[in-house]
């Protein structure tokens, strides 16, 4: 009995260039979000539940430590925290290889 399932088979176009890839310039305008983080603290859930306004929480980083820049949770660069007009800024000091 013939198989009633339909299948799609990709075929190569002989006229197309071999190993076609999307040109990176075509997606260069896509924006991604970098997040700047300074230090961390590890707390138990119990301690976390007790936190209230005014409580202090020491971080494991010095104020002059480099800020981490994270892309989707992954640190890809570090830099100095600066002010740029009325905003924070980060001057890149170290960046991951491409």
């Amino acid at each position: 009995m013939a198989d009633s399932k339909s299948t799609v088979r990709l075929v190569e176009d002989p006229a197309a260039p071999s190993s076609p890839r999307i040109d990176e310039r075509l997606i260069g305008a896509v924006e991604v979000v970098l997040e700047a983080h300074l230090g961390k603290a590890v707390l138990s859930v119990e301690r976390l539940m007790q936190l209230k306004a005014g409580d202090s929480l020491p971080l494991d980083a010095a104020l002059n430590a480099d800020v981490e820049l994270r892309l989707n949770g992954v640190t890809i660069a570090r830099g100095e925290l600066v002010s740029v007009g009325t905003n924070f800024g980060v001057r890149i000091a170290e960046i991951a290889q491409k």
């Binding site: 990176e24 310039r25 997606i27 260069g28 305008a29 896509v30 924006e31 991604v32 979000v33 970098l34 997040e35 700047a36 983080h37 300074l38 230090g39 961390k40 603290a41 590890v42 707390l43 138990s44 859930v45 119990e46 976390l48 539940m49 936190l51 209230k52 306004a53 005014g54 409580d55 202090s56 929480l57 020491p58 971080l59 980083a61 010095a62 104020l63 002059n64 430590a65 800020v67 820049l69 892309l71 949770g73 660069a77 830099g79 925290l81 600066v82 002010s83 740029v84 007009g85 009325t86 905003n87 924070f88 800024g89 980060v90 001057r91 890149i92 000091a93 170290e94 960046i95 491409k98």
Partner: protein
């Protein structure tokens, strides 16, 4: 994707060869209880679908666990073994009705004992004149000491798993801890997000040491606190503390 929930053990643990000793002991005890002669013996049989022997009262079954062949020949064999007399082929309809009535409690007791092996209570498992629905059965021909087949017992995989599990000495479980205490002790990483900036991929590729990225937050604004990297209702401001960074919590976000 969901499906029926079934107790599970590895295939090797529920192989008929592993279950056979328990079935043999159970059948021997059942035989001694019902038959004055030599006990019947259980062996591992071929996998045959119950429908081959027909329905319509030809089987007695205990829910999804087991079924026992209960056609006229099985009834006559059981009754004959109970009475220790051969049942002639010339038995009348009335004789057949008597034999069926005599053999039924004996067959049901076998199912009850098998359910007991599996740790199940037959009182809550209706005995019904139906074959097992599952095709994945183990077969146990019951034979006389002389090797003459009397009837067949079928057990489902669920029964094999239950028998195997019931036969394992239960480990004494340690008392459970308080769920609240366990959660309270769980550690969470709190981090402060100074701000964000959107960067086109092209710029990200070209980013170099010395470049300055402008964040979307002002120095005097409260920072978002992340818990294990996820947004939280907490906000804080950054305070100096002898050179170390310290957060002071502000009112929680709504």
């Amino acid at each position: 994707m969901t499906g029926p929930v079934q107790p599970w053990l590895p295939d090797d643990a529920v192989a008929p060869q592993r279950i056979q000793p328990a079935i043999e002991r159970m059948v021997a005890e059942w035989s001694r209880h019902w038959f004055p002669g030599a006990p019947l013996r259980a062996s591992i049989g071929r996998n045959e679908p119950p429908a081959q022997t027909g329905g319509g009262g030809a089987w007695r079954s205990a829910a999804d666990l087991a079924a026992i062949e209960f056609g006229p020949s099985a009834q006559a064999a059981l009754a004959g073994a109970m009475l220790a007399i051969p049942i002639p082929a010339s038995a009348t309809e009335r004789d057949r009705a008597f034999l069926e009535a005599a053999a039924r409690p004996c067959a049901d007791d076998l199912l009850k004992r098998l359910a007991g092996l599996a740790g199940r209570d037959i009182a809550r498992l209706a005995v019904a004149p139906e074959p097992l629905a599952a095709g994945d059965c183990a077969w146990w021909p019951l034979k006389t000491a002389g090797g003459k087949p009397v009837l067949r017992l079928a057990t489902s995989r669920a029964a094999l798993v239950a028998i195997a599990r019931h036969g394992i000495e239960p480990a004494k479980p340690r008392p459970l801890s308080s769920r609240r205490q366990a959660i309270a002790a769980q550690e969470v990483v709190v981090s402060a997000r100074l701000g964000r900036c959107a960067v086109p991929l092209a710029d990200l590729h070209d980013l170099a040491v010395g470049d300055v990225l402008v964040l979307d937050a002002a120095p005097e604004a409260a920072l978002d606190l992340l818990l294990n990297g996820r947004p939280s209702p907490f906000r804080a401001v950054l305070d100096p503390d002898s050179g170390a960074a310290r957060l002071t919590l502000t009112a929680n976000q709504d």
